[in-house]
């Protein structure tokens, strides 16, 4: 019943979100209709359960981490539409002539990926964190020992200050050759 609720989305709100995120009016209206259909309890907020009710997200090995990214925008256990849109905005394609204050710069995209590893939110990826995320991605298919050596190798390759952790700066440097624009952008249709 996205329609009735998309009526409730005020013109000013749309304009504000448009300014902040760069989404077009029609995209915002359509994404609002998606937001309300995910919001099963109809209270204007999404809970973790609301997200994980999407089967394709629930079977994503990193589904929990992706959902978690939405909750970093808010301090409590709910996500409202603005916060929802801010996270989605990171996945808009980068355009050459756009304002700098939109939320989809290369750095924003890298920050999103970095935070998926950073489980405790201390702005560093430790070996334990990397191991835990690797574990989520591969399940029981690769032995602990092999994962350990993958983690060790990965950290030594990018750890320039030799503190055995990956800082955001080191992460950015390691991603220098990666086509972040392609890998972290979603094709939005008009």
């Amino acid at each position: 019943m996205g329609a009735r609720s998309s009526m409730q989305l005020q013109e000013e709100e749309i304009n504000e979100i448009q300014r902040e995120t760069g989404f077009s009016q029609s995209q915002i209206v359509r994404l609002y209709s998606r937001f309300t259909s995910l919001d099963k309890s109809n209270n204007g907020f999404l809970s973790r359960e609301d997200f994980l009710r999407i089967p394709e997200l629930a079977i994503n090995p990193l589904g929990d981490r992706i959902v978690h990214a939405f909750f970093q925008e808010s301090n409590d256990d709910t996500v409202n539409f603005k916060q929802f849109m801010r996270v989605l905005a990171r996945f808009r394609p980068i355009k050459t002539n756009q304002d700098k204050n939109k939320m989809n710069t290369r750095e924003d995209k890298l920050r999103f990926a970095f935070k998926m590893y950073d489980l405790d939110g201390d702005d560093k990826i430790s070996k334990d964190e990397l191991l835990a995320v690797l574990h989520m991605m591969v399940g029981a298919n690769i032995s602990e020992e092999q994962l350990g050596s993958i983690a060790d190798r990965t950290i030594t390759e990018v750890d320039y200050n030799k503190d055995n952790q990956i800082s955001f700066e080191e992460f950015v440097k390691a991603m220098e050759k990666v086509d972040v624009e392609q890998k972290m952008s979603i094709r939005f249709l008009n």
């Binding site: 329609a3 009016q25 259909s37 995910l38 009710r53 997200l57 399940g139 190798r153 008009n190």
Partner: protein, 456 residues
């Protein structure tokens, strides 16, 4: 004074209403049509077309009004594609499933052939895939009403009512009056008569001795009753390939609404299979059960798979009995896709007669969203819509191949139905409407990703 006028008006309406009802009943029992409903549908299409033009000029004027929107113009000039699910917000790049793992469209090579070392950027595939599914996913969207390409002048649809032009508002108002004050009462009369007639006739047939006469009489009465009921929701059904109609065996169809039964029963008699219900449905089930063999399971019996298969088998082995009608999805889907078929009916080992049902959702949404509305509310929705317009395709009968198990056979039948009805063929279980995914379904994507990794 008011009362007198009211009674006079009512009595003036009486004769025409009764004669129209009688005419409809006679036509229904003969299986004939005057083509009035088809003309009505043609007229509606013209009205919708008019509305569409009005709305598009309205939108154009509005867009010229604000110029801030041109930023995205060069982002993607491609029109939103329709893939059987209305309009899309994004074009998905990565798909994930519990049987096929991860598929990335922008990478042309099969990721199974890629062998590479772990890279910190690998996480981006999972991230992008996850956010894509949050914006648009294959499953949950099948459990809510399909979006319309343009407004069909019903205020309950996703477009809702809003003022566009005076003429359109007048048309909407007239339509509203016609639907609620002419069509609805008329349809209710037909529904009550149809159901009453069904209960009375089956009671009489129940006393007849079993035999050819009873079977034929029952067939005739069933067709007649369901044709009356189909007129109670102005159903306009086009049957294709009627030579493939089921005579015995099991007929399987995709499921959108309880209306499916009425639609399909207008052209053929079926033995129905389902859980025994209480209330009005229970009365109907018992009535139909008197005249011929239907299979109603008690709640406790449904769990017992062996018993279910045994009773289905006994039924299809008796060639005197009617073909069974089964909806193997086990739940209503919004008619944009076909979801997983439960293997039960494919284990019986009889000929399967697949049927594809596709509703034209411009005339009203036939999908029963059982988690949001009750059965009565759904039926009222249908009866206050413009009409139920649908196509039914009878597919050539199919049997299990050598070496094929029930699940593979079920999938093969499902793909055929999807292809014929122009529906998206999904492997996901419709029960996900209520249930959660199994934890083990995470394993396939993990396994596939692991295969990609080169470990020392």
């Amino acid at each position: 004074m008011g009362e007198q006028l009211f009674i006079t008006l009512l009595s003036l309406c009486f004769a025409p209403v009764v004669s129209v009802v009688i005419l409809v009943l006679v036509l229904a029992s003969l299986g004939k049509s005057l083509g009035i409903r088809r003309r009505y549908v043609k007229l509606l299409l013209q009205v919708f077309e008019f509305g569409k033009e009005k709305i598009s000029t309205y939108n154009k004027n509005k867009q010229n009004g604000d110029d801030s929107d041109d930023e995205d113009a060069n982002e993607n000039t491609k029109k939103p594609c329709e893939n059987g699910n209305g309009l899309n917000v994004i074009e998905r790049d990565i798909s994930i499933s519990y049987s096929k793992g991860i598929r990335i469209q922008s990478i042309s090579t099969d990721i199974n052939d890629v062998k590479k070392k772990f890279d910190l950027s690998d996480i981006m595939y999972f991230a992008k895939c996850g956010v894509e599914t949050i914006i648009e996913d294959d499953v949950t969207q099948r459990f809510s009403a399909e979006e319309l390409p343009s407004w069909n002048l019903l205020s309950r649809t996703s477009y809702g009512y809003h003022y566009i032009s005076l003429r359109l508002t007048i048309i909407w108002g007239l339509g509203f009056l016609a639907r609620y004050f002419v069509l609805l009462p008329f349809r209710l009369i037909l529904a009550v008569l149809g159901i009453g007639w069904l209960i009375v006739c089956t009671a009489f047939i129940g006393y007849l001795p079993a035999g050819k006469f009873k079977r034929e009489l029952n067939q005739y009465v069933m067709l007649m009753c369901f044709r009356i009921l189909s007129r109670a929701c102005s159903a306009i059904v086009t049957f294709h390939n009627r030579e493939n109609k089921a005579k015995n065996g099991i007929c399987v169809a995709n499921h959108t609404s309880p209306i499916d039964v009425i639609v399909l029963s207008c052209d053929n008699c079926y033995a129905l299979v389902g859980q025994a219900q209480g209330g009005l449905l229970g009365v109907l089930q018992r009535a139909m059960g008197r005249a011929t063999a239907h299979i109603w399971f008690e709640r406790s019996e449904v769990k017992d798979r062996h018993l279910v298969t045994k009773r289905l088998k006994e039924h299809v082995d008796d060639l005197d009995k009617l073909p069974m009608l089964i909806f193997p999805e086990g739940t209503c889907i919004n008619n944009t896709s076909v979801m997983m078929f439960k293997k039960g009916s494919f284990e019986v080992g009889t000929t399967i007669y697949p049927v594809a049902v596709k509703y034209d959702h411009r005339f009203g949404d036939a999908f029963w969203n059982s988690s949001k509305q009750g059965m009565i509310q759904h039926l009222l929705n249908i009866m206050t819509s413009w009409a139920v317009v649908c196509d039914v395709w009878y597919l050539p009968p199919m049997s299990k191949l050598d070496g094929e198990d029930a699940v593979e056979f079920a999938n093969r039948v499902k793909s055929e139905i999807a292809r014929k009805g122009g529906l998206v063929d999904l492997e996901w279980d419709g029960q996900l409407k209520r249930a959660k995914v199994k934890d083990s379904w995470k394993e396939k994507p993990q396994e596939e990703y692991s295969k990609m990794l080169k470990v020392d």
